[in-house]
Amino acid sequence: MATAELARPWSSSVTQSIRDFVRKHWFEIALVSPLFLYVFGSTLLPVLASILLGFQAPPRGGDFPTLRSYDLVVNSYEFVSAMTNTVIITFASVGLELGLGLMIAMMMARRFWGRGAFRAIMLLPLGIPVVVAASNMRYIFLSSGYLNQALMDLNLIAQPIDWMKEPYVLFTVAFTDTWKVTPLVMLILLAGLESIPTELYEAAEVDGASAWRRFRHITLPLLRPAITSAVVIRGIDAFRIFAHPMGLGVSRTTPVLSTFAYYEYQRVYWTTSAATSTILLVMILVTVVLYVRRAGTEEIAG
């Protein structure tokens, strides 16, 4: 009450303008508010709760603030391996997706016989549920699976390789993610490719620029905004990777941050789970900010 009394002299103009704004835009506000209240309420509040929970005593909270949960997490061998695995998988899968996505997008930009069918087949993985995509890879990457079988039939290897064990398993997880989302990266890059004026290529060809130089000096620079958005979208998702190691059945032996947090939650260690998710959030934020800033300054410099 007292604060309201004190606030009155300066707040009357503010409340007046808010009232005017509401009176003018009440229809828009009424239409938008359920959506925004739900989306922000159901993300900001839980994330805040998670951050606070991380600074409480293990296993289930209380005694705020304390760093004991972080202490427990950082000193656990499993967390350290989850952290390195997450980083390696993220870089490997984003790199693979970008390379393959660009290759397929450039193939798609050509005219060739069967292009329609090729396009339809390329989009197939988008329609396959993540768990299915991951469990399908088991038939291929199990030591008695089809990859080893094919490699042995081709006389490339003599003994089966265990693709589900370190260090190969990191590649297996990255490849699973790559199989599932390369079509998405490809679509983003294809949209970028199609926005590059063909006159540029024609002019470069007249000037005698080789295919590689045209790619290096026209395609890549003009594709940079599309590449940036693909890297940011995919990078965020790759850091949060969860279903792939689970669906491959390797989440116990090869933890990533999300699965580590899940198993902590499952054994009712809520605070360490929350601390892990906070660490992951910070990792995502720092990476995105660094990347966007670098990509942004390069764009200005170029």
């Binding site: 009424a30 925004f36 993300t43 090729f118 390329m122 998710s277």
Partner: protein
């Protein structure tokens, strides 16, 4: 290519080896990419009808030499299939209905705002997708445990809405943007209220776009893993059911389950493609 056709009459025709080689290399690349894309799905379907004698051996067969329906029989008769299927179906359908109801008005309002405001609002919605889902799922799970919503379909709907609302709203903003404002102004001149215009003019015109958003939302919920993993244990959805049997059952059984989860997705994606091609605005603008 043009300069070559110009030369054609003067120089005797011969095979351009470099060009042929390049074409061959391109064709091989296409085949390789296609093979890698199709292989996992092919092996899933193939394994679901494969006889154990074909797979459980040192050199598994690449195709079912002795097709069998025993895995399908076993999975279709399993008493865990129908509860999981019903749960997934209920959650995905209810999530879709609620998501469309909440995001349709919001997306319409956003689509009619100034470009700058629109951009900021959409970006703000997508910013929420940056948070790790585990950080959201954990407090939600703790809360649901206390409220008795753990394991419930209703709880899962509430969680899936967090995931699907930004995507659903984003698609709908795009759908509403394609509808010319002239039509609304026309309706206003004719004396319709703003809500009446939205309900009787804009929404019917945006119906195909709304269907696309709804289908997309449905698929997101049907495929969802993280929230479902955190919020269910004994009464899982279909994807979680698959995760649970991966360690316990052989590849043939897992493949059969996986095929069952995929079938509705394939049907729905096919239906969606037909919607996407519909040239739905032509009639309204001409009339």
């Amino acid at each position: 290519m043009n300069d070559e056709s110009g030369r054609e009459g003067l120089v005797p025709r011969r095979i351009n080896w470099r060009k042929t080689l390049r074409k061959l290399w391109f064709a091989l690349l296409v085949l390789l990419v296609v093979a890698v894309t199709i292989a996992p799905v092919y092996f899933m379907v193939s394994l679901s009808i494969m006889d154990p004698s074909d797979f459980f051996r040192p050199d598994p067969a690449y195709y079912p030499r002795h097709p069998t329906t025993q895995w399908w029989d076993r999975v279709l008769k399993s008493d865990t299939l129908y509860p999981a299927f019903t749960k997934s179906l209920t959650v995905a359908t209810v999530t879709t209905i609620v998501a469309v109801l909440i995001s349709t008005p919001g997306a319409y309002a956003i689509s009619r705002m100034a470009p700058k405001v629109k951009y900021v609002l959409i970006l703000a919605l997508f910013f929420t997708r940056m948070y790790p889902e585990i950080g959201i799922a954990l407090p939600v799970a703790v809360l649901f445990l206390r409220m008795g919503l753990y394991e419930s379909a209703a709880g899962l709907v509430l969680a899936h809405l967090i995931l699907v609302l930004p995507v659903c709203a984003w698609i709908l903003v795009g759908a509403f943007e394609t509808i010319p404002r002239d039509l609304e102004e026309q309706a206003a001149v004719d004396g319709a209220s703003r809500l009446g215009t939205l309900w009787r003019v804009v929404i019917p015109l945006a119906a195909p776009g709304i269907s696309v958003a709804a289908i997309f939302t449905w698929l997101l919920s049907w495929d969802e893993v993280t929230y479902a993993r955190f919020l269910t244990l004994l009464h899982p959805t279909l994807p979680i059911q698959i995760l649970d049997i991966i360690g316990r059952s052989g590849p043939t059984v897992v493949a059969t389950w996986a095929t069952i989860v995929t079938i509705p997705v394939v049907i729905i994606t096919y239906v969606m493609q037909r919607w996407l091609r519909a040239d739905y605005l032509a009639g309204a603008v001409k009339g």
